[in-house]
């Protein structure tokens, strides 16, 4: 016998042994019941049970009576999990914010552009109010004219001071804040003047 044939022979014997074992396993399994219409019967039974359950309130109650226990079990798991998630989010946010440290005194590009836009809006509003205020001031009594003129001159001086400071320090947040405050003050004063009776 050649080596190849011997190998083939050995392999064949191993295969037969494997098949015999497999068959023995199969034989040890329970023989399934012969039931040609089994699924149909199961379906019919289920439908019958469902109809019966609907027609019996106590059955419904009985069915629900198991829910609290299930819910309770769910909540015992759900609540701590949610709390954990929430704590995690809050911590991350809080520390993430804190991570930024002292707020910057310099306005970054976008923030600076927004502030400049806001300033331009205020300047425009102030210009429009000033046009309306001029004839009103001319008609007011001297005391009130003097008061408002004083106040507006004071605010204008502050606006000039802020502009001078911004010329050499354009993105300084503090100066921008005070510039905006002065413009707001001017707008409010002009509005008051126009509302004066």
């Amino acid at each position: 016998m050649s080596l190849k044939k011997f190998d083939d022979y050995e392999k064949g014997r191993e295969q037969e042994a494997l098949e015999a074992r497999l068959q023995a396993e199969i034989d040890s399994l329970k023989t399934p019941i012969s039931a040609p219409h089994l699924w149909k019967r199961i379906e019919a039974m289920l439908r019958k049970e469902e109809t019966a359950a609907r027609s019996r309130p106590e059955a419904r109650t009985a069915a629900y009576s198991t829910r609290p226990a299930r819910l309770l079990r769910k909540w015992f798991i759900l609540v701590p999990a949610s709390a954990l998630v929430l704590i995690g989010i809050l911590l991350a946010l809080f520390l993430g914010l804190g991570q930024r440290g002292t707020p910057s005194g310099i306005l970054a590009g976008d923030a600076l552009q927004k502030i400049e836009l806001k300033e331009r809006e205020y300047v425009q509003a102030v210009d429009e109010l000033e046009k309306k205020a001029r004839p009103k001031m001319a008609a007011m009594d001297l005391e009130m004219v003097s008061l408002y003129r004083d106040k507006l001159e004071t605010i204008d001086a502050q606006i000039r001071r802020c502009r001078e400071a911004l010329a050499s320090n354009p993105a300084n947040a503090h100066i921008r804040r005070y510039m905006l405050a002065a413009l707001q003050d001017k707008r409010q004063t002009l509005a008051e003047l126009l509302a004066y009776d």
């Binding site: 769910k74 798991i77 759900l78 999990a81 949610s82 954990l84 998630v85 704590i87 995690g88 989010i89 911590l91 991350a92 809080f94 520390l95 993430g96 804190g98 991570q99 440290g101 002292t102 910057s104 005194g105 310099i106 306005l107 970054a108 590009g109 976008d110 923030a111 600076l112 552009q113 005391e143 008061l147 004083d150 106040k151 004071t154 605010i155 502050q158 001071r161 802020c162 400071a165 050499s168 320090n169 354009p170 993105a171 300084n172 947040a173 503090h174 100066i175 005070y178 405050a181 002065a182």
Partner: protein, 560 residues
């Protein structure tokens, strides 16, 4: 819920906790906040220290920074801080920061803190640590460099401070010395300090709290808050409010168009403002208020009060001294004044009650209401009702076209008015009334009654002294005379209107009555007399002369 979902949530929670933990463990960094596309910022930490001693002066001048100056128990000045700069060129930023230095320069008993930046050297030529590019760039003036600084300064607790800053906030705490703080466009807070304070600021709030010593605050267009200043305080500001409490000595406030509100001043207090509310309470010394177009409220002042105001109400209560109000077109209310009250106003009501001294009112077109005045009361007014009751002294009313009601006047009463009624009830002494076209009613006058009026009725009841009525077309009615003492007289003359008089039945009177065109009805015997034989009465030879004259009817009754 499925187990997988719960597991997923738990893993997510753990992830977040880990992230949070990493955030905690990471030390705060110098910022390289990548800004927007056009701006980068860089910052640099600053630290300097130098030994000091009590009684020295620290100067921080020409600053543009947020300054926090705190006292500590070490004889050392330590400054920590940071400078942040922004520009589109990171290299220039680095170079700029390299040229930025903090120094504390001692000189005698002073220390000068300086923050040197390349901005100072932009005008200088020559070499330096700055590259030519940066120098040229700064000199060009066309740059968008931005700069922000913050300094935390720790100093010995007994140290004087001279600060000159702008566009930054200043906070000073626990330091005692002679402090001179100048700021512009930034909040200033001085807390728990002592010594002397001169603070000048503008366009932001200035707060001085728990200061042991005198304080002067000058804050243009900025709020001022003073709380627990053990020395005196002086404030100048405008357009923003002043609030104060617990000032240990005199207080002076000169403001403009600002609310001034406060209490508890241990000394004299002088306040000037305009167009807003002035509300001052609890002053141990003298109070002076000047409030043009200001609503003024004053309560609980231990000495005199003087108020000048206009156009807005004035209310004063609980003054241990005298009160003087000079106002214009303002309602004035005064109550519980221990001394004398003098009030002048116009076109609004003047009301004074429970004044232990005398009261003088000058109220053009003012309704006047006086109650419970212990001393004399003198009123000059017009066109509005005058009411005076429970006057312990004399009452003198000079009015015009005003209704007058006077009741319970202990001493002499003198009233002049016109075109409105005059009523006097329960006058303790003589009553004199001049009422042009005014009806006059006098009841229960204990003294003599003297009435001059025209065109309206005069009604006198329960008089106890002489009666004199000179009327012009005035009807006169006299009844229920309580008493006609010895030496008293009754002299009633009028025209065109009747006289009706009821004399006490036992009165020892000598009556003469004369009428031009009327009739005489008398309970007394009538004798014709007079040159033209007109009806007249001359009855009795009593000691009390009763003279009645009119051109209308005369009725003389004998009261039973």
């Amino acid at each position: 819920m499925k187990k997988k979902t719960i597991l997923g949530l738990s893993i997510f929670a753990v992830f977040l906790l880990v992230y949070a933990q990493m955030a905690v463990s990471t030390a705060p960094n110098r910022i390289n906040a990548a800004a927007g596309p056009t701006k980068t910022t860089q910052s640099k930490s600053l630290h300097e220290s130098v030994p000091s001693a009590p009684g020295k002066t620290v100067r921080l001048e020409d600053m543009q920074a947020d300054l926090t100056i705190t006292a500590w128990d070490r004889n050392e000045i330590v400054i920590e801080g940071s400078v942040e700069v922004g520009n589109s060129n990171p290299e220039m930023l680095t170079e700029f920061l390299a040229g930025t230095k903090l120094s504390i320069e001692p000189s005698g008993d002073r220390f000068s803190v300086k923050l040197h930046t390349p901005f100072e050297s932009r005008q200088k030529k020559g070499t330096g640590s700055l590259s030519g590019a940066l120098r040229n760039f700064l000199r060009s003036g066309k740059f968008n460099f931005s700069f922000s600084a913050r300094l935390d300064v720790h100093v010995p607790s007994d140290q004087s401070l001279v600060v000159n800053n702008s566009f930054g906030n200043i906070k000073l705490s626990g330091v005692n010395g002679r402090h001179d703080i100048r700021n512009d466009s930034g909040e200033v807070r001085v807390e728990g300090c002592g010594g002397t304070l001169s603070l000048r600021n503008s366009f932001a709030a200035a707060n001085v709290v728990h200061f042991k010593g005198p304080a002067t605050v000058d804050n243009k267009s900025g709020d001022v808050i003073l709380e627990e200043i053990s020395g005196g305080a002086e404030v100048r500001n405008s357009f923003k409010s002043v609030r104060f409490g617990k000032i240990g000595a005199a207080l002076i406030i000169k403001s403009e168009s600002a609310d001034v509100i406060g209490s508890d001043v241990a000394g004299d207090c002088r306040i000037a403002s305009s167009f807003k509310v002035i509300d001052v309470r609890g002053i141990q010394g003298r109070l002076e208020v000047r409030g043009e177009s200001s609503e003024v409220t004053v309560d609980n002042v231990k000495k005199d009060v003087v108020i000048e105001s206009s156009f807005k109400p004035v209310k004063v209560t609980n003054v241990q001294g005298g009160l003087r109000v000079i106002s214009e077109s303002a309602a004035v209310t005064a109550g519980d004044i221990a001394g004398e009250a003098r009030i002048k106003s116009s076109f609004n009501e003047i009301s004074a009650a429970r004044v232990h001294g005398s009261v003088t009112i000058d109220g053009e077109s003012c309704a006047v209401n006086l109650r419970e005045i212990d001393g004399d009361a003198a009123i000059a007014s017009s066109f509005k009702e005058v009411s005076a009751s429970n006057i312990g002294g004399t009452l003198d009313i000079k009015s015009q076209s005003a209704k007058v009601i006077a009741t319970d006047i202990k001493k002499a009463t003198s009233i002049a008015s016109s075109f409105n009624s005059i009523e006097v009830r329960r006058a303790g002494r003589n009553v004199k009334v001049e009422g042009e076209s005014s009806s006059v009613l006098i009841e229960e006058a204990a003294g003599n009654v003297d009435v001059q009026n025209s065109f309206k009725y005069v009604i006198l009841r329960q008089t106890s002294g002489s009666i004199r009525v000179v009327g012009d077309s005035s009807g006169v009615e006299v009844s229920q005379i309580r008493m006609l003492p010895k030496g008293s007289t009754i002299d009633i003359r009028t025209s065109f209107k009747p006289i009706i008089i009821a004399l006490p039945k036992d009165a020892d009177v000598a009556v003469s009555a004369k009428t031009e065109y009327g009739k005489i009805h008398s309970d007394y015997p009538v004798y014709l007399g007079g040159e033209d034989l007109r009806p007249a009465v001359e009855a009795g030879k009593g000691t009390i002369p009763v003279r009645l004259e009119t051109s209308a009817d005369i009725t003389i009754k004998k009261e039973l």
